[in-house]
């Protein structure tokens, strides 16, 4: 490619990653917080804005690329991962972030996500999960709870909700994490982890749509109660949670997770589940992804982070190998093919 770059000479502030475009989200929307943290992460990691590309589909969330002063493509509904795949393969030098929503990514676009996961492309995929269609004014989404009343389900929705992290883990994703719009430090940390992962990195962000689904994640954002309803995953650490850190998770009978109280029935920290984000089998990550409010505390943090061959690396590798084996390409020879004859 003709593109050449020079490293930025001075380190950039978060605001330097913004664009001049007026932001058009509703006042109070959780998207603002995500945007803020994203810019902070770019600044913290000293990213070169000219090397960054944000690719999105359609939805409120998918407007994000307009608000970044980087390269960006606001594509069509559900197809951002596919577009990012082509860009990734053509351009190994760029850093590519896909921004998607629960409808964009898991309704119309589910299949492209699946294949981005299994190929382990080196792209970051951030899903703003507000459990609703924001842009089209409040229809039910595949991540909406059963029985939810929306404009398209006035008598309650009847399709089970899908779990984005379970889907990602089931489809071979090598990095899967969850975080919350209103816990900025955790959001920032999680995005930084995603940025550092080589391979596909999927982050589900609980995002409040205060217009059409206000308070959907209250249990995870409300300071009063959130510690009882959320458990933070840390590699190598036991799963402890609760306001006074007295509750824990262990594997009970039949491989079923159980909430226990430390000190009760002789339970100690040694009985608890120890998180292993690097386990080669995704089974543990999957088990954790199934923990759901209100029966269990919901895990946030990194479920899974493993190394695995990367599609775009492998394609470069094959090109290198074939070029070595066959020598410099000769277009004329190729055009002649196996057999020619002369006519005079």
């Amino acid at each position: 490619m003709a593109a050449t770059t020079s490293a930025p000479t001075v380190s950039l502030q978060p605001k330097d990653y913004g664009s001049s475009q007026e932001i058009r989200w509703c006042p109070g929307c959780g998207n603002y917080s995500i945007l803020t943290q994203l810019k902070k992460v770019c600044s913290n990691l000293g990213k070169d804005p000219d090397k960054l590309v944000f690719v999105s589909g359609i939805g409120c969330s998918s407007r994000l690329p307009y608000y970044m002063g980087t390269y960006g493509v606001h594509s069509i509904h559900g197809r951002a991962p596919a577009l990012a795949t082509g860009l990734r393969l053509a351009r190994p030098d760029l850093e590519i972030w896909v921004i998607t929503g629960d409808g964009d990514g898991l309704s119309i676009g589910g299949n492209h996500l699946l294949h981005a996961f299994r190929r382990n492309l080196n792209i970051k995929i951030i899903m703003f999960n507000n459990r609703i269609y924001g842009l089209t004014k409040g229809q039910v989404s595949p991540t909406s709870e059963m029985n939810k009343k929306t404009i398209s389900t006035p008598y309650g929705s009847i399709g089970a909700m899908i779990n984005p992290c379970s889907v990602a883990i089931g489809c071979e994703a090598t990095f899967v994490a969850r975080t919350v719009d209103m816990i900025p430090a955790h959001l920032q940390k999680t995005l930084e982890r995603a940025a550092a992962h080589r391979g596909v990195a999927f982050v589900e962000v609980y995002q409040n749509c205060n217009i059409f689904n206000d308070g959907a994640f209250k249990y995870s954002t409300d300071r009063e109660i959130r510690e009882d309803h959320v458990v933070e995953l840390e590699h190598g650490k036991a799963l402890i949670f609760g306001k006074d850190q007295t509750k824990g998770l262990r594997i009970g009978r039949n491989y079923c997770p159980e909430v226990v109280t430390l000190g009760e029935n002789g339970m100690s920290i040694y009985d608890l589940l120890i998180h292993d984000e690097r386990a080669s089998s995704p089974a543990l990550a999957f088990l954790l992804s199934r923990l759901r409010h209100p029966d269990y505390p919901e895990p946030i943090g990194v479920f899974r982070a493993v190394k695995s061959p990367i599609y775009n690396d492998l394609i470069e590798e094959q090109i290198r190998r074939l070029t070595q084996e066959r020598g410099a390409p000769d277009m004329q020879k190729l055009m002649y093919g196996p057999e020619t004859w002369e006519v005079n």
Binding site: A2, I76, E325, Q332, E339
Partner: protein
């Protein structure tokens, strides 16, 4: 059968005959042998004059079993040669093919030169020294048939022997057996006195140069690669397998040492979007498919039009609608290519006229795409894509270079500024100072910002239209075969070129006032086309559809073009087109 057909084609190309082939195979992978549905055919026409079609009928038919006879007999010329593998005409096989009585003993075959050859027996006998198992030995009978055909038409065996070396180098027994069978067939022709004639076709008179035999899909692949090569850029090809386009994927994936990146996507939508992403990144991006896949790509093609990024979209047309006739040919996706998207969504459309022409068409598509910053559709069809012909290989230094510019001064850069071709700048992500955002919402002129302004929208809709119309500046004027005015102009497009040309020439040779205008540029059309159309009293548009080009010509140029339409999943026959021309010239309608 496809395999020995290919071998015969190669040998024929090498002796310098001009040729056209028509492979015809069933939609099933291994349709049950001996059933009518399982018949696999391969038709070849070759001559010392230029040939443009695989021939309406055949002079010699080799039928390896009763089903093949049943399916193909109607195509054999009266008085033609019929070579039968008589060993295969068992009672069971006859019943399976739906014969009540043995046709070889029948009236039905009167009027043909029938040659009953016990090919199976002879083959097994011939190869017995190779030490194969009986089943394997029997399978060599196709090479026996090939040998016989080689003798009949005086073709050399060398190329096939060389090919056998390559193909079966690791399995010397099979290699040897096939050679034995081939020679046995050749010798059988030579020694038996069965054949009255022994054809000899002299080399065709064609322009001097270096020739090869080429299949349409391979030519398309090479054309795409050559364009990237001539721009000093890398080709990116994203596709989802679909008959009859898959072979482009299969061919391009071989050439990784050219830096070609091939991506087998999860579906056609993903392939199209990946091509958009790659084009945005600066690659020479292309995608290929057939009609149903093209339908799926429609929404994303709209995005490509809005983003104004260069790329090539190949549609190898097949029989439709829906799944239709996947392995048969048709020309019924012209409307879809030119008009089949939401909103005013113009893009240039080209069509290839023969297997070799796929190269030039694919190449030109990239020239247009890059110069005008637009997706370009290339239409080929199953007939052109699977067929092959001798092709004069261009010398790479004779091909035009394709200029690409990715450099723009950051101070003045505007993502939707326009150059003299109305093209916007192809600014690549990663370039310092040019960061900008693009997307599918309407863009403000020059700045490329999202704009809901009514006047801007109207302006941009017309601008995109004008840009595509401007492609007519670049393409050559339309040429004619025949006089520049007269009673009848026959207008054709795409893969029917050879047939229509032959038909027009046939009528012209008899003195008919008819000319032939064959279109490659379907949208926009050449600037002088209107003038040409108006110089003829009548206009006939033969198409393998119900009249798509015909409607466009009528609508654009207000000429009373009439259609001649055939939608049988197979090419026109020269005779039927010639007859229709005669009819019109004689005042019929």
């Amino acid at each position: 059968m496809q395999l020995v057909g290919t071998q015969f084609t190669d040998a024929t190309a090498i002796v310098g005959n001009d040729l056209v082939t028509l492979p015809d195979y069933p939609a099933e992978i291994r349709a049950p042998a001996g059933s009518l549905a399982g018949v696999s055919g391969f038709q070849i026409n070759f001559a010392s004059t230029e040939v443009y079609t695989p021939g309406d009928t055949v002079q010699t038919l080799v039928a390896m079993n009763p089903a093949a006879l049943k399916v193909n007999l109607a195509d054999l010329d009266h008085g033609g040669h019929l070579i039968l593998n008589i060993d295969a005409f068992t009672p069971t096989a006859l019943k399976h093919a739906g014969y009540e009585a043995d046709p070889t003993d029948d009236q039905e075959l009167q009027g043909y030169h029938v040659h009953k050859v016990p090919m199976t027996k002879l083959t097994i006998e011939a190869v017995k020294d190779a030490g194969l198992k009986p089943k394997e030995a029997e399978r060599c009978k196709n090479f026996f048939a090939l040998g016989l055909a080689f003798w009949l038409y005086d073709r050399p065996l060398d190329a096939t022997l060389k090919w056998l070396d390559q193909k079966f180098g690791a399995r010397p027994q099979i290699r040897q057996a096939n050679e034995l069978a081939l020679r046995a067939g050749f010798n059988y022709g030579n020694t038996t006195e069965m054949f009255q004639v022994h054809y000899r076709v002299r080399p065709a008179r064609v322009p001097p140069g270096t020739y090869r035999k080429i299949r349409g899909n391979d030519a398309t692949s090479l054309g795409l690669m050559a364009a990237a090569w001539q721009a000093g850029q890398k080709l990116f090809y994203a596709s989802y397998p679909i008959t009859p386009a898959s072979d482009i994927l299969h061919e391009l994936v071989k050439h990784k040492n050219f830096g070609v990146k091939v991506f087998q996507a999860e579906d056609e939508i993903a392939a199209m979007c990946a091509a958009i992403g790659a084009a945005y990144g600066g690659a020479f991006a292309a995608t290929g498919t057939s009609g149903p896949g093209m339908a799926l790509k429609g929404e994303a093609i709209g995005l490509a039009v809005m983003l104004e990024l260069p790329m090539v979209i190949v549609n190898v047309q097949r029989g439709g609608p829906s799944t239709g006739l996947p392995t048969k040919t048709e020309q019924a996706d012209l409307f879809q290519a030119v008009l089949g998207r939401n909103g005013e969504c113009p893009l240039p459309v080209l069509a290839a006229s023969s297997p070799g022409d796929c190269f030039a068409t694919a190449f030109e598509a990239f020239q247009i795409a890059v110069r005008y910053m637009t997706p370009v559709v290339v239409l080929t069809d199953g007939y052109v894509a699977n067929g092959s012909e001798p092709w004069r290989v261009p010398r790479i230094e004779d091909l035009p270079r394709i200029a690409v510019n990715h450099e723009f001064p950051p101070e003045t850069f505007q993502p939707y500024a326009r150059d003299e071709n109305l093209a916007r700048p192809w600014a690549l992500p990663g370039t310092p100072g040019l960061a900008h955002r693009i997307g599918g919402l309407e863009k403000e002129h020059i700045t490329g910002k999202v704009s809901y302004d009514p006047a801007n929208h109207d302006f941009m809709v017309r601008l995109r239209d004008a840009k595509v119309a401007k492609v007519a500046d670049m393409i050559p004027e339309q040429t004619l075969i025949g006089d520049e005015s007269g009673d009848l102009l026959v207008v054709s497009w795409g893969g029917t070129y050879g047939t229509i040309r032959s038909a027009v020439e046939r009528v012209r040779d008899k003195g008919g006032s008819v000319s032939h205008c064959h279109l490659r540029h379907m949208h926009p059309m050449p600037r002088n086309l209107g003038k040409i159309l108006k110089s003829f009293r009548k206009i006939l548009v033969p198409e393998l559809n119900l009249g798509q080009l015909c409607l466009l010509l009528r609508g654009r140029y207000l000429v009373d073009a009439i259609g001649f339409n055939k939608v049988q999943g197979k090419p026109f026959a020269v005779a039927e087109v010639a007859a229709r021309i005669d009819q019109i010239l004689n005042g019929g309608d």
